[in-house]
Each structure stands twice: as structure tokens, then as C-alpha cells.
Symmetry: none
Subunit: 181 residues, 4 copies
DNA sequence: CATGAATGAGACTTCATTCAT
DNA sequence: AATGAATGAAGTCTCATTCAT
């Protein structure tokens, strides 16, 4: 297992905040370095390019995200409660982060296909998320449907700077579960 | 009626292509003016800031988008066919544009809340789109649900560089319509 | 006598305020045009270059300045009172204009010798001012001395953002007058 | 002790010449970096803004100026000779520099109050100069009077592109000293 | 492993001025 | 005499990255 240096950790913490709040393009390496309090060349010894930093950030972010998702669903007994917890978490998350939406979707929207490395990392995360919903919901179609509602909730809360999209999505998701096919 | 100058039209055409393909931040004014073949100061006499250009672009894009949406739904008799047409258009659109997703959502993801002017333009467009679905689907909950599926389809096709999210969303939408409440 | 058009007058009024408050270089033709409410080409039909505008402005400003200087000294009986009035006017002037100093000296400091036309206009004005002091004070040396004190007062009130330089200069000037040679 | 980099030194040398000859506004960063032979970003790593560059330049210029003033007055025995030396230095200085006047007063005239940082630097320098005259001349009023004559000489030699203002000021200053109060 | 000065290309924007109408 | 769209050079400043130490 790779030893994580203090420098590396500080960089990634700062990166996490800045990329999420400001976006990928709007966040300069210089700002990250300054706010991390590390030397420029130290930074580049850890992350050869900004793209690499972003890829690493996305990997960690994905892990952190799933740690949370698993935690909040593990305690719930039935699928209804699990879904409820997932969408409620979304609502709380947005309240805390001023509706900045999904770190992955936002960066995907920024970079388009210009960075395969980044696009791949996001694809991996979203595939993992889709599988996570599959693991909760046996019916494949329903799992996909609810995954899609979850994704939409992430985007639309940002667009409308409001929670209603997540609340509606939660309701739709619970209805979908109830359907008998 | 104000004559739209050739310069302005050329700028907006180029802007439309570049902002959509490359994103807002990754597209420089220099590239826009170079590819439009206009002088720098001519550009700035039309658009005081890049932000203003973006706002104008989004306004026009919204109009263009609704022109298409209305055209393709007008001929269809029933709601099923209308929805089918809408999601099919999405699929064709993505095929043509290499899954670059939604111009509005992408820019919203980039700018976050850093530009209220741009955020507002996008909010206006999406509100308009939500209302458009309301106008097609009397049941308010169903309209919202299907709007949300449409939005998700836009994002997810980009994320997966594939059409299946739009195809699934189309199927989900048609099911929703059939439900008897 | 040349007929002064309304446009010309508006331009010169705006110019006077802007050049004085912001300086020559910091004031753009565009701002002058915008705040005058005249068309760009109308402006250029009156003033072929910014330099010309400045020269004209300085000429008018010089006239305006002397109109005031003459008015405030005419009523005073003796030389002491005249000098008192001149320096008092300086103090009031600075109070009104937030210590922006002398329009002529300021522009002279900006353009250096790069614009002979402007430098000449300023030289003419200051020569006129020196002669004005000569006309009040028969003794040539004393006239020069007091002129120099007046000039210094103009600059130093700006530097110190305070009135004391003008007040001191007034006192020095009155002492000079009293000396018996 | 901090090593002053070569780049920084070259920038400040070039800046000194250009700001003095051409003025602050008329001198572009581009010209400074071109004539310094440094890279644009190197420049900005040393001086975050043009304003900061100017403030630093003024500080150094002030030091340089006082080094000279102290040197040329130190050797002189009495106050008459000291003042003579000071005004003679002014005359020589102007002869060498084509009557460009005082670096501080010129920039003060340009920027007005638009840059507090720069205005403060100039105020500091001039206060220092006033104190310098105080240190030479015990009588406070006389010190102020002669300071003011010195300042006027700086400006007026520029306005008239001639030495006579400094020569007259020297004469006036020596007279002031002789007065018995 | 750590440092920070240095880089060149490019960012967005404004300048004074001209031209066809 | 008046208009405002159009110009190209220049403005200040930031980018991601590399280098010698």
C-alpha cells in the first residue's frame, strides 16, 4: 500500500474543495499550491499534470461518496427506507454545499471528451453508482430508472438552486418501487 | 426592426459551435474572433464581456431549441407519439454531436453560481422546458417526472457516451404516461 | 468669431470634468463621447485627435481661470488684499475639488515633452499667469517669487491632500511683499 | 539577507527610466518587460500589479534621492552652501534629464487620488523631504518656505523647459535664510 | 523529497481612430 | 453636420509547467 505523504494529502484536500466549488477550469494550479501551502515543484512531483490531479481527485471522491452511500443505506431495513435515506442525503448535501450539484457530472460537463482520462474516471464512478442501485433493487429496469432519477436530482437541484427536484425524485422513486412488474 | 449585423451573426454562429463543443471556459475570445473573422474591438462593441456573449448565446440557443421541440411535437397526434419524438430527437441529436450533452446543463455545471447572469439564463430555459412538458402532459406530477427523465437522458448520454440512457428514459416516460393516476 | 456648436460645447464640458478628475491618459475618448452624448464621428469632426481636444480644453481652461483671477482681484484695493484673495480662492478651489491640484501642471506632468502642442499650451498659460503676477506686483523679483509660491501651493495641496501649503504660501507671499527691496 | 534577483533588479532599472521619461500611464508593462528582457510571468511573480511596481519604484527612488541629497549637503559647512548645493544639484539634474521634473510630483499629478497606495508613497517621500529641510534649517517657517521653493523649482523648470525657475528659487532661498526672524 | 524563481503562450479587455452610410 | 459599426494595436494580467538549486 502506497504511503500517502502529508503534502499529497494537503493538496488533495484543497483540490477537493476548490474543484467542487469553483470548477476544474476556474481553479488554477497556483491557487491549489498557495492554499495547500506546498511548494510548486513538490506539487508537480506528486501530480505531473493538472489532469492527473483531477483523475486522482475523482478516484478519491468516488470512494468517499460510496463510503457515505453504504453507511446511510446499511442501517435501513427495507428498500423504501434505503431510497428515502439516499435522497434525503442528497437534500442535506445540497443544503450544505449551496446546490453545487455533482462533482463528477460538473467536471464531465466541463471537459467533454477533451480529456479521456478524466472522462473515464467519471464513467467508472457512474457505472459504480448504477451498480450500487442494482445491488439495492433487483429489478434491473427499476434500478436504472431510479438511478436516472437520482442523477437528475443532482443536476436539477443545481439548476433551480432548490431542493424540490430531489424531493420530487424521491417521491417518483418510491412510486417506481411500488409498481408490480 | 433592428438589423442584425453580419459581424454579430458570425460571432454568434462561431460562439454556438465553440461553446458547445469545447465549453465556456475552454473557449477563448481570441478563438471566437479568429474563427469569426472579426476584429477584436468589433467583437467587444457587440458583447461587452464574455459573460454577456454567453448570456446572449444561451437566449438564442433556447429559442432555437424550442423551435425544434415544437416542430417535432406539433405533427404528432397523441402524447405517446410526442414523447417518442422528443426522446428520439435527443438520440439523433447526440449521434450528430458526439454526446456532448446539453449546452445549458454543461455551462451551468461550469459556472456554478459564479455568474448570476448566466445561471439565470439557464434557469429561465429550464423553467421554460418544464412548462413545455406541462403543456403536453396535464398531470403535473407526471410532467415533472418526465421532464426529469429528459434531463437525466441529456446528461447520462454524455457520461456514458452512449444512447442507452435516452432509450431507457424514453421507455420510462411512456410507462409513466400509461399509469392511471 | 467662430460659432460654437452645441455638440462642441457639450464635448468640452465633459472633457473639462474628466480630464481634471481622472487625468489625460486615464480618460478615454469613448468615455468622453459616451458622457457627452455625441456620436463618435461628430466628435472627430470637431477634434481630429485627442491631443487637439486637450489643447483646446487647455485654452478654454486658461481663459476661464483668468476670468476668475481677474474678478477676485479687481475689487480688492491694495496688493495685500489681492494676494490674500488669490490664495484664498486656491483654498476654496481645492476644498471643492478634493485637492486635485492644477489642471495644467497635472497634464504637463503626464505628457512630459511627448506632446509639444500640449506642452506649449501649458507654457503659454503659465507665462500668462506669471505676467499676471507681474501686473499686480511691480517688483519683478517679488512677482516671480510669489508666482512660484502660488504654483507650489497648487502642487503641494494636492500632495498633502491638505490646505496648509496654500495657507503657508499665502503667509510667505504677504511677507515678501512687505520686504523693502 | 534576502538576495535581490537579477530579474527584479533589471525590472526596477528599466521601470525607473521609463516611468520617469514617459510617465506612469504611458509606460506599458509590455514595454517594461521587453526592455528588461524578462518573461511576462516573471515580472508578475515579482510585482503583482503595475501599481505595486510603481510603489516599489517610488520607495527606491526616494532612498536614492536622499542618498544624493545627504551626500551633497554633508560636505558643506554652512547652511548657505548647503542650500546652494541643493539647488545647483537640481539644475544639473534637469540639464541631464531634459527637464522632466520630479518623478514623485509627476506621478502624483497623473494618478490623483485614484491610487491611495501610490499617493501614500509620494506623501511619505515629500514629508521626508520637508523634514530634511527642517533638519537643515532650525526655523520652522523658513524651512517650510524653502521646501516650497524647492518643490516649485522642480515643477517650473519642467513647465518652462528652462533652468531659470531653479536659479530664482535658489536666490529666494538664500534671501529667506538671511532674514532675521 | 523539497524549493521558488522563471517561463512563453494566452487570457479578457480598451485604446484612439476611420469608414461607409 | 451627423451617425455607429468596424478596426488592429496595445493594455494588464494568469495559465500550466519547468528549471537550477
Amino acid at each position: 500500500m502506497k504511503t500517502e505523504s502529508k503534502v499529497r494529502r494537503r493538496i488533495l484536500e484543497t483540490t477537493g474543495q476548490l474543484f467542487y466549488r469553483q470548477g476544474y477550469q476556474s481553479t488554477g494550479i497556483n491557487q491549489i499550491i498557495a492554499e495547500s501551502g506546498v511548494a510548486k515543484a513538490s506539487f508537480y512531483s506528486h501530480f505531473p499534470t493538472k489532469e492527473d490531479l483531477c483523475a486522482t481527485y475523482l478516484k478519491l471522491e468516488s470512494d468517499a461518496w460510496f463510503t457515505i452511500l453504504k453507511r446511510i443505506t446499511l442501517d435501513e431495513k427495507n428498500i423504501d427506507n434505503k431510497l428515502d435515506a439516499l435522497f434525503n442525503h442528497l437534500i442535506e448535501f445540497h443544503a450544505e454545499h449551496r446546490f453545487r450539484g455533482c462533482a463528477f457530472l460538473n467536471i464531465r460537463a466541463e471537459v467533454g471528451s477533451s480529456s479521456p482520462k478524466i472522462a473515464q474516471e467519471i464513467l467508472t464512478h457512474k457505472t459504480r453508482l448504477l451498480n450500487f442501485f442494482h445491488s439495492l433493487i433487483p429489478n434491473e429496469k427499476k434500478a436504472k430508472h431510479i438511478y436516472v432519477l437520482y442523477e437528475a436530482a443532482l443536476m436539477e437541484c443545481q439548476v433551480f438552486s432548490a431542493n424540490w427536484p430531489a424531493e420530487e425524485a424521491r417521491e417518483f422513486a418510491l412510486e417506481i418501487i411500488k409498481l408490480d412488474h
